[in-house]
Symmetry: C3
Subunit: 307 residues, 3 copies
């Protein structure tokens, strides 16, 4: 915690992942080896205007880069812990079969690089996250993302795809209090976060910050959603809309639910869900534990333009 709260980190303008920064859908009919590089980066950045926090990220973004492979592919991971870091890091893929999901093989001190190869055998959207002993702290600092394992036959076509991740930030100050917020282990033990955010920052994916996701009226979209946690369940709801089809727990081998208003996504789990846009307007994606929305920063927007 001390190491985490000291001020010698890199400064970033933005940690929020762009919700459209997603690899293309897979059209291959055969397996291949997919090269992936993850770099744990410790950076100071703003949670909201005037509020800074020492994030830990994969590749400088929250959630970390979305990885996309096909069932049967081999993930060929390079894990580079930069020398400028202060802490060891690693990565546990829920899509990897084997103790720790790769955490032991990728455990690295600053300045070290590790390699990991694994075959992706279960179709679904799986979380990956840091799994050092203080894993709850590292996830709360931003170290989580999605690896999508497409089924062999691929996914149904949609017009747009979006990528969002929710997590909790536990600090020693109150939401909105200006200045540097240090990580606070006591509020994490009580599971009482200061901020609950989508894509790492308060209202990151809204017009007031980096902009909403954009579609045209009549389009379809698929949302990949991950709850990093480390502790709270998201009750994931699209205001003014429903999840047309929703794959519980991110499993793509289980039949989807239809017309779902609100779906719980556990910490350390995901959901894959589609939505339609029969009418134009701004559709807010929220955790329906609404105090987190109204007072703690948890919201993203997808806006449909055109009549």
């Amino acid at each position: 915690q001390k190491a985490m709260n000291k001020q010698k980190q890199q400064t970033a303008k933005r940690v929020a992942a762009a919700p459209t920064d997603i690899p293309d859908p897979i059209s291959r009919n055969e397996s291949k080896e997919v090269d992936v590089t993850l770099r744990p980066e410790e950076v100071t950045a703003e949670v909201e205007d005037g509020v800074t926090f020492n994030y830990m990220t994969y590749n400088g973004q929250v959630p970390g880069p979305m990885i996309r492979v096909r069932k049967g592919d081999t993930v060929n991971l390079t894990f580079e812990n930069p020398a400028e870091n202060d802490m060891p890091h690693n990565v546990d893929f829920h899509a990897a079969a084997g103790p720790g999901g790769g955490a032991e093989a990728t455990m690295t001190a600053p300045g070290e690089t590790a390699h990991l190869k694994f075959e992706a055998t279960y179709p679904g959207a799986y979380i990956y996250h840091c799994a050092v002993p203080n894993m709850d702290m590292h996830i709360s600092a931003g170290m989580f993302g999605i690896i999508l394992v497409e089924p062999e036959e691929g996914l149904p076509e949609v017009d747009h795809e979006f990528y969002f991740g929710q997590h909790e930030i536990y600090t020693d100050k109150r939401p909105g209090e200006k200045g540097q917020h240090n990580f606070d282990i006591e509020s994490m033990k009580r599971e009482e976060p200061t901020y609950v955010v989508m894509n790492g920052e308060k209202y990151a994916c809204t017009p007031d910050k980096y902009g909403a996701g954009k579609v045209q009226t009549g389009d379809t979209a698929r949302v990949f959603f991950v709850t990093g946690g480390p502790n709270l369940t998201s009750s994931f709801h699209p205001i003014g809309n429903v999840w047309e089809k929703l794959w519980p727990e991110g499993s793509l081998t289980t039949k989807p639910q239809t017309h779902i208003q609100t779906k719980q996504v556990a910490p350390g789990s995901t959901t894959v869900a589609t939505m339609g846009f029969p009418v134009p307007g701004a559709f807010k994606l929220v955790d329906h534990s609404l105090t987190r929305v109204a007072r703690k920063g948890c919201m993203a927007i997808v806006a449909a333009e055109g009549e």
Copy 2:
């Protein structure tokens, strides 16, 4: 919060919705326009004997009136914010497709009336709730209910239907402490309610208060259940019974689960579930987070009479 806690409100004897106050099942084979009136009413009433609270309600009851339409029907809503109120209110229907689910169109100051028309296109039981900026506070004060959208073919016949809604009340006093309880925003931020109730008041639908729901041994019943929240998930369980069939998330286009002991119902979601009564007796419906039952008021009863 100040506006909410001042004492010039109307006084009500009872805010608890009668669990049998449900529109009749639909037998129509064609769509129609259904007129609905919702009146946000700010009233002071008892949470339990000697404990008063400034509720906000739809039509004076918690949960608000159950609305029942058929897929394809048009809801023709009149939304009347009475002049005696102190606050703006609105309504967001999870069954309405469009930004805010109708919240913008119905946003009204005291003394104003608004109109909203929408087509109900997804079969299921959907929550409606107030969605002003302080929406967590308004829901915690009682502003939520169910709109049921029956599938075109209707619902299976049962002998009885019941309507229950769970929500949290956050106050500045302890459970049972006599006098006026004021709304407390800090405990809401911690998600630590003073009361967790079904139908707005402590043990409202039990013999000690307004009476249990009543069936005959051998009957079947369907329960419409909504978690208003604003924050906590209900682990909904019928003591001494199971949910024979249960439609997760209130979706009526998804296959039901069977023989379910306990089902999580997220804040901002619902469930539809059936139960049988092979033996007589009082069946307590609870949130199986049992401290809420034993210490915070969360229970309703359905009693089967006859051998």
Copy 3:
């Protein structure tokens, strides 16, 4: 609470149930009467080294003995409250149809014995638990377990079966603080436990304590998991693995999900899930609310040996 915290109880070396102490799978083709004896035992034991707590248990273990019957069987229960106890106890079976699930019939003071007979009519894994008025306290002290009702055709063959139960312990001290921890009702009201454990003790089923569950590489296993609560949901995850098939809410008449990374198991509910062991190593079973794992004691291990 006073009665619970006084020191005249029996001392036990261990309350953790052995995860392999499970009745054999059922191969019968006809119903029978199954005799079961439950003894509520109040015992002082260690949560971790140097930390003692006054547990309440069924038969001295947490979770209580796993009971295994076949749909249509009659459970013939003897419930013996030993004279050395200080408190009344009973048992509520979620598998029993009838008010209280047997709680009234089994309500006994110390020194009393009660009898209960019921037919198990719904296939599934159901929790049983103490249901005296302070039921949240009794469950938090350890009084919960599983009764498995096999479907008539039995369960698919697996190489191993394991039995785990998660619950929260609320005390007046901090995790790891040496000495006697007394039960603390205030932290239970806040739903902020001191410990969250699997099988009653910190890291009970791991090599540092009583040993991991053991399988051979290539084996299959079925896990019976119960969340006693009394309040928190478990986000149940096998690190480095997935739940190959998972029966939500423990219902065995509902289609299982497949390839599930993390599944919420509500307090007062269960799950039945299978896992494979394609590679050797130690697979940690956790609640993915990871602060409970890293700081409060919640983990069990199943280890696969052989290449």
